[in-house]
Subunit: 262 residues, 2 copies
DNA sequence: CGGCACATTGACGTGCATCAAACCGTGTGG
DNA sequence: CCACACGGTTTGATGCACGTCAATGTGCCG
């Protein structure tokens, strides 16, 4: 057991990107006790359906939240990079259907629900920031639903890469046009609702189009504008106050009449 | 402007299904002021990308949160039934990428963010219950990601119907095996990432198999067990403490080694 | 050097999209 | 009371994006 692990700073930095916290609140967060673990790639940190009494903070590596079908097929619902709490929501819902798995060799911190809840109750503002953090995750999920439901493989893959680029850049782990995404094509396939084979072919297509270059697991986006275009990517859903693609989706379709009965 | 609308009771009932609240807290919630509107079917209540200063509570009808692509195609990310707050999360994130649309003729209440935030700060326990409510929505989103990514049309449709059955039953609007889902096949298609044509054919297949019967927009599930089986449905993700399908997804796949460095 | 995880390739099958037309119930106006 | 328009459902013909299976290539590590 450990108090005030340096990775907590990354988490606080993430919260501060969307919420304002007082020095006292920040200090309280930074002094949370934690336990550290270093799962290797493919290790399941939390099994689907398990009840936990701690939340999981990523310090290093790439971690995913996934849903598992009866036949064993997996669908990744979220990627988590250093500074992310995979399951902060487990504080208010300790049993759920998902699992958490390390995609690459990682370092994770376990923070007790009791301690986190204590903070949320003592500092209403911290509670709001936790809620807001969860809302941001949910917004990403909603966007993934849109991607899976209404875009083809090319757009889906491009969108995922755009998202990870922006998030990794903000986390200080590269730039949106050049970053390391430490996942196998099979893991990407699990996130995109595709097969590894098709992810490979799609990746090749993007390379052939000159939109993308890869060196090992480093992704280089050649022309961000074109690429974001191909991805139908608008960073608004990340809830980071980033500049929105002008007039993108606003008011495309008018509804028809709404009798007000105030 | 209206104070203490009866539909607030449904919302409080929804919160109480997952959280415990004191009488005082309940009273405070029940006395929230609101504005009422009655959108007809297809009316867009909130446009994608709009900034709002109120949250939207469904009193009657069927309402959806949706994501819109550049080409105008829509993907529904969540259905909302009476008692649901479509966008409680907008209290902590007033601008986001989604839109909200009435699928059938509905009644909705608008509750001011300021008032809701005031409650959340005054009563930490209410803040937790709001956070928990948002978490439940997020859990449903994650499940939808799984469905869209890894199940075929038949399972997806069946799963959606299972979910709506259970939710409508809990809201007192039918039973899980017999309920009204007031959406067109096109709207279902927008939720399932399919086309209306294919939804129709899939529905017919389920009827032919004897799993389902429909009368207008009333759904009758013939054999819940078989149907839930076909849907790969396990209600755990609804976070309602419902009985879980025995040993469904637990520990299907073992991970491999995790060097502990506590 | 051999083994292993991952990437890549090719041949082939299929689930769902697309397009276009017909059908059906319901409300509306002549 | 019929005609017709309208939103929604149903049907059929055709095509393609992606899945499946199976083999081969490639870099890394012991």
């Amino acid at each position: 057991m450990n108090v005030g692990h340096p990775a907590l700073e990354k988490f606080v930095a993430r919260l501060l990107r969307r919420s304002t916290l007082s020095t006292e609140e920040v200090q309280a967060l930074l002094h949370l006790p934690c336990r550290v673990a270093q799962p290797q790639a493919h290790f399941d940190i939390v099994y689907p359906g398990e009840t936990v009494n701690h939340a999981c903070l990523v310090a290093k590596g790439l971690v995913a939240r996934f849903d598992q079908m009866r036949d064993g097929k997996r669908q990744i619902a979220a990627f988590h990079i250093p500074g992310d709490m995979c399951d902060l929501h487990s504080v208010v819902a300790p049993t759920a259907g998902w699992g958490i798995s390390a995609l690459s060799p990682s370092t994770v911190l376990f923070l007790s629900h009791a301690e986190l809840r204590k903070l949320a109750i003592a500092y209403p503002n911290v509670a709001l920031s936790f809620w807001r953090d969860g809302t941001a995750d949910a917004s990403v999920l909603a966007k993934w639903v849109g991607n899976l439901g209404r875009q083809d493989a090319r757009s889906r893959l491009a969108h995922l890469l755009c998202e990870m680029g922006v998030r990794l850049e903000l986390a200080g782990l590269g730039t949106r046009t050049s970053f390391v995404l430490d996942a196998t094509q099979e893991q990407l396939a699990d996130a995109l609702g595709l097969t590894a084979v098709h992810v490979d072919r799609t990746m090749q297509a993007l390379r052939r189009e000159g939109l993308l270059a890869t060196h090992g697991r480093t992704i280089d986006v050649v022309d961000w504008q074109c690429f974001a275009e191909a991805a139908d990517f608008d960073p608004a859903y990340l809830l980071l106050g980033l500049p929105t693609r002008a007039g993108a989706t606003q008011g495309l379709k008018m509804g028809r009449g709404m009798s007000s009965a105030a």
